[in-house]
Symmetry: C2
Subunit: 225 residues, 2 copies
């Protein structure tokens, strides 16, 4: 009764997902194999298949956990409500950097569907007309994914830039790519001050644009009706 095995907490879908999240956050999603996942809990690979159908299901479940961390849009005017939840989504994705790519390759679970529904509801319950909400939904979701994807993959680029520096090609590159050099220098300058502002700057570009487009459309309707 005091054997190693008796100390194991019994497996369950939830426990498997929690263990998978730990590995993904620590080593990245590429390092997550069914074998390692099982081993991390003291089981053999095949035991997992009593609780999950496939690795795909595990990944779907992982993204659902991340989506669950996003604070949904609060009630009230659409603009600050959207702003808040889109910023919250950004933070959730930065806590689980692998999740941005996984978002794109996994299928939409109920929680993701609910999040997307909430985005649309916020826009439609506000003053945004249907065609603007249609575009706006894409713009906002694109911002969340595209912007964060860039941030996350910049880490890799950063390394490859370091490599280039190490290969002492940097001087040459500064001449061939003056604007990229400037841009990277700007990045380093703002690094610990206002990098988050960047996300919000572009977000406001979009939200302000949607508001303006909605106003224009309504004005058109009034003058033509």
């Amino acid at each position: 009764m005091s054997s190693a095995k008796s100390k194991r907490t019994p497996l369950s879908t939830e426990r498997i997902l929690r263990a998978a999240l730990v590995i993904a956050d620590r080593d990245g999603v590429d390092a997550l194999s069914m074998r390692k996942l099982a081993a991390s809990m003291g089981y053999e690979v095949m035991s997992l298949y009593n609780h999950v159908a496939s690795k795909e299901e595990v990944l779907d479940g992982l993204v659902e956990i991340v989506v669950d961390e996003i604070v949904p849009p609060p009630p009230g005017p659409w603009k600050p409500a959207l702003r808040a939840t889109v910023i919250s989504a950004h933070q959730a994705l930065l806590r689980h950097r692998w999740a941005v790519a996984a978002w794109a390759t996994t299928s939409t679970g109920p929680k993701r569907l609910a999040f997307q529904e909430a985005l649309l509801r916020t826009m439609r319950d506000g003053t945004l007309p249907a065609p603007i909400a249609y575009h706006g939904y894409h713009a906002v979701l694109m911002h969340i994914l595209g912007f964060t994807l860039q941030e996350v993959s910049f880490d890799l680029d950063d390394e490859s830039l370091r490599e280039m520096a190490a290969a002492s090609l940097q001087r040459l590159d500064a001449d061939a790519f003056p604007h990229m050099t400037e841009h990277i220098r700007q990045h380093l300058d703002v690094e610990h001050s206002s990098l988050g502002d960047d996300y919000e700057f572009v977000l406001d570009l979009i939200l302000d644009g949607l508001e303006r487009a909605a106003r224009q459309l309504k004005h058109q309707e009034i003058t033509s009706g």
Copy 2:
């Protein structure tokens, strides 16, 4: 001399990349294994390693090919120039749908660097001040990747939605997710008429926003200086 082997075109890095592109475009990047790649050319796996260092190098090379298809920004005013190249990037990525995800996971090659440099140059050589160009660069790149990522991954969602319909859950879901239902219906409505407009609508939101932000900044400088 008329054996099967004598008919084989000799291997080269370029030929390997071309063959890899065919497989990726046909079956997706997940289906691209070194073994299948070699087999598709009538060679054994190990032969590839005489010409490429690793699979990673193959993927890097593939993305470079796609980037090479993007028409660079033409000379002239920054706004139409950016607009043209960003639309061209969209088209190139839609021709190679796997490339959106690969863009994020591969490291930046010389052609990608040159493309990004051209984006920045277009903005800086125009009237955009440095801080606006800094944000604008992120906004534009984000649009290319984020928007296209959504389009490409919507295909998957589409299938899963079809599944849901097949499982006869659709009626229930239409009640629980009225806005998503409306949104999908809108998608189907515009499908063959103006889906491309959507990409350009959001792009113009960003470009107009940048222009306005630049004007504001200059006005501030004049009134305060």
